[in-house]
């Protein structure tokens, strides 16, 4: 089979798994997860094969693996769909395949496969645990299996299909299809425990918020199709003439060129999907879903799709830019990304829920990537995207493992303190060693711990690009955001794992099963080694030992190969200071937190802490600005006024008029004329019959006499008429 055929086949197994589970195997939990895991494994296998082929081909950027078929007739031409693997999609495919497979494996353990059914578990609610009796007759409360286990695997199967489809496609329309499939799965999986009102609210919030972005994205795609007549990557992004034309045609809207406007619209779609300010509000709430979902959808893959798409359209964004003078759209992207990076990082400082901290750090890190795109650092954005996918998936899965251990403690002790609140944890280092060490690796990668972690290299590359191209605002803000990142990461690690346990459940937490720890170990491996693919050549001491593969490989996607920057020690120094400084500050601040202590930041920050704790009141602001007006519009304006008064009023009026007309017709037309005529005919016939029936005597001879008389009379008449008066 050719490589192209394999690429076509990569997305299919998860889709088949989805239908198989939904239609046939959903009664059997074992069969369902075997089907799903097998599908993820096949896609992983295909992905690895394609990746291996991709890195062994010369000039993949100029001659990507591509194949397409005519799909939809558009007048005289055909709209073609197909697959394409160029360096960008190859590296994306690599991390998507790995994270998807790991998360599938992790889900088996996370949903307590192999545990007994719960005593009071019901579909739509998280498992409550079940009581078992041991050999000595003691009753124990142990975790119970998820009631909707098969359903979960069906959904993540469909999700994986959407993601693979998005990665392997060669045009924006199918990308949008995959994008929306993931949006649907995100909705279904955030509300997986639909028995919880908070999960229901979160699923609706996520769906509607991303929909805002998607509408603009669809507009952008439509405009691009209108302007160029194609949506294929190759025909638009690799064609200098088309790009030149798009960049020089003005739209008359804010002085933007077609390329600028389309880029802006598509970027708004990515803002929704990748949870950038101001559409970031859905992602923290999306943590209502099961943790593998948070890891997969809301950290590693789906939110990366937004960044992937913007990186994909980078030639369009950069079209018409002079060196040192980015386009307006790029400036907007850089601003939004930088702002989001610092904005979300500050919120993360004051969150106590272990998953919410990670959610805000995801938003912040995605902001780093957008900032990198905005300043034209194409390779740095891709690099950070890949690294982030690994270490953030690791962190989320690690936090899921922590929560799992805490829930075990909750069941064991019957102490119902919140198993997700970091202030209830502490001392888990010894209880959950694998989770601890992998979490530290992930956390240090997030914080950019120098030299060994992947996050350091990718973040350093962004700093170097911002510094080298003199984007001082971006550079300083991102450095500050990185400092906060390191701080809250260490805060999280310290509160969760170090010190002494601060609650009963934390005392009795246990390490998770191998199905959960194996993915952690694998992802931890990538969180360290993946970064070595992008070490700058001039880096002191270790530069040049390994080639800067990331730059050479991914940079080749672009028509103009991006130039390597002059190496500078200043961004490196800043990077070291913020990560190490943040980490040590975090450790110093939180190492002595005792049971019942308030957050040590609360006092020095004062009202600012409250502001951060409440996420700058964005939820309240949106509630006041959008939700309540919408509810008022729906309930008061549309329902009470338009519907009840105007539309119902018109209907009632029509009904009244009709009733009056009907009454008139009935009384004067129907009863009088129609019924009268009917009665007349009936009655008349009856009377006539009654009066003439006396002549029917039954006597033959009388009939004959009357016949004779009739004949004589008729004959006489005819005789008179025909003979006498001719």
């Amino acid at each position: 089979m050719t490589t192209e055929a394999i690429i076509w086949l990569i997305p299919l197994p998860p889709l088949l798994a989805f239908f198989l589970i939904v239609l046939f195997t959903n009664r059997s939990k074992t069969l369902s997860h075997i089907v799903a895991l097998l599908a993820a494994f096949l896609s992983w296998l295909g992905g690895m094969f394609v990746f291996w082929r991709a890195i062994n081909v010369e000039h993949l950027g100029v001659h990507p693996f591509t194949s397409s078929i005519p799909w939809m007739p558009t007048g005289n031409t055909w709209f073609e769909i197909g697959v394409q693997i160029d360096p960008l999609s190859a590296v994306t495919l690599f991390f998507v395949a790995w994270t998807v497979l790991m998360i599938f494996i992790y889900s088996v353990g996370y949903h307590n496969f192999g545990q007994p059914r719960g005593d009071q578990d019901r579909p739509g609610l998280p498992p409550h645990g079940s009581t078992v009796k041991d050999a000595h007759g003691h009753a124990h409360k142990v975790p119970s299996i998820e009631p909707m286990y098969s359903r979960f695997f069906a959904f993540i199967g469909l999700f994986a299909f959407g993601m693979f489809l998005l990665v392997v496609t060669n045009n924006l329309l199918i990308l949008f299809v995959g994008w929306e499939i993931m949006g649907l799965c995100s909705y279904l999986l955030i509300g997986f425990w639909y028995g919880k009102p908070s999960a229901r609210a979160a699923m609706i919030k996520a769906f509607i918020t991303t929909r805002v972005g998607d509408v603009f994205m669809l507009l952008g795609i439509a405009y691009l199709y209108f302007a160029t007549g194609t949506l294929s990557y190759n025909e638009i992004f690799s064609n200098p003439e088309t790009l030149y034309q798009l960049a020089t045609t003005s739209t008359g809207f804010l002085g933007l060129s077609v390329a600028g406007l389309v880029g802006l619209l598509l970027f708004i779609g990515a803002v929704g999907k990748s949870a950038q300010w101001p559409l970031h509000v859905w992602l923290p709430d999306a943590m209502e879903g099961p943790t593998p979902v948070s890891a997969m959808i809301h950290a590693a893959t789906m939110v990366s799709a937004g960044v992937y798409m913007v990186i994909r359209i980078f030639p369009l964004l950069a079209a018409g830019a002079e060196p040192g003078y980015p386009t307006q759209t790029m400036t907007v992207i850089a601003f939004i990304g930088t702002f989001t990076a610092i904005f979300a990082a500050t919120i993360a400082l004051a969150q106590n829920d272990i998953k919410r901290v990670l959610a805000y750090s995801t938003i912040s890190q995605l902001g780093f990537m957008f900032a990198a795109i905005g300043i034209g650092a194409y390779v740095a954005a891709v690099f950070h995207l890949v690294m982030h996918a690994f270490f953030k998936a690791l962190l989320f899965l690690g936090s899921g493992s922590v929560i799992h251990g805490m829930e075990h403690g909750v069941l064991h002790t019957g102490d119902h303190s919140d198993p997700q609140d970091m202030f209830n944890m502490g001392g888990l280092r010894k209880k959950m060693p694998v989770t601890f060490w992998t979490f530290v690796i992930g956390g240090f990668a997030l914080a950019g711990f120098p030299l060994i972690t992947a996050g350091f290299w990718s973040k350093d590359m962004i700093f170097a690009e911002a510094f080298g191209n003199s984007h001082w605002g971006v550079f300083i803000t991102l450095a500050l955001a990185a400092l906060f990142t390191a701080f809250y990461t260490m805060r999280q690690i310290t509160l969760t794992f170090l010190g002494a346990p601060r609650s009963e459940p934390a005392h009795h937490a246990v390490e998770s099963k191998w199905t959960m720890t194996l993915p952690l170990v694998v992802l931890a491996f990538f969180s360290i080694t993946a970064g070595w693919s992008g070490i700058e050549h001039d880096f002191p001491l270790i530069g040049g030992i390994l080639p800067n593969w990331m730059h050479d490989f991914v940079g080749a996607t672009l028509q103009e190969h991006p130039e390597l920057l002059e190496f500078s020690l200043i961004p490196l120094f800043v990077s070291l200071v913020v990560s190490l400084g943040g980490l040590s500050l975090g450790w110093l601040t939180y190492r002595k937190v005792k049971v019942g202590d308030a957050d040590p930041l609360m006092k020095p920050l004062g009202p600012v802490y409250t502001l951060l704790k409440n996420k700058y009141y964005f939820d309240e602001l949106y509630d006041w600005a959008f939700v309540r007006p919408s509810i008022w519009f729906a309930e008061t304006f549309v329902y009470l006024w338009v519907d009840k008064k105007v539309i119902d009023g018109i209907l009632h009026w029509i009904a009244y008029i009709t009733s009056v007309i009907g009454h008139f017709l009935r009384t004067y037309i129907d009863k009088l004329i129609v019924n009268g005529f009917g009665a007349l005919v009936g009655e008349g016939t009856k009377r006539t019959g009654r009066s003439i029936r006396i002549i029917q005597t039954g006597r033959v001879q009388q009939y004959m006499i009357s016949a004779l008389v009739t004949i004589v009379v008729i004959s006489a008449v005819f005789y008179y008429l025909l003979i006498l008066t001719p």
């Binding site: 029936r693 006396i694 029917q696 005597t697 039954g698 006597r699 033959v700 001879q701 004959m704």
Partner: protein, 102 residues
């Protein structure tokens, strides 16, 4: 030769006698006989017209034969009806056979 009108007068007389019999007699068998008279009056007419008008064709005679056959059949049916009525109601008086009234 006897003129045609004589035959026609005979036939008319015969018809009238038959008609009178049909209308005035009480006995159903007599009524049937009146009908036979009227049929035969028609036969006389047919034969007379044939002899005087179209002697070269055979249609008139053929018609008369058909009328005979019809009359024979009619008598057979009629008498059978009368016998049947007689058996059930024990009368052949036409006045009494009046079930076909309202």
């Amino acid at each position: 030769m006897v003129p045609l009108s004589w035959y026609l007068l005979l036939a008319a007389a015969l018809f009238s006698v038959g008609l009178y019999g049909v209308l005035a007699r009480k006995n159903a068998i007599a009524i049937l006989m009146g009908i036979e008279l009227m049929l035969n009056a028609v036969n006389v007419n047919l034969v007379a017209f044939w002899r005087y008008r179209t002697p070269e064709l055979i249609a008139g005679q053929a018609f008369a034969v058909i009328v005979f056959a019809t009359a024979a059949a009619e008598v057979a049916v009629g008498l059978a009806l009368i016998i049947s009525i007689y058996r059930r109601r024990n009368t052949v008086v036409a006045e009494d056979i009046d079930l076909l009234k309202f």
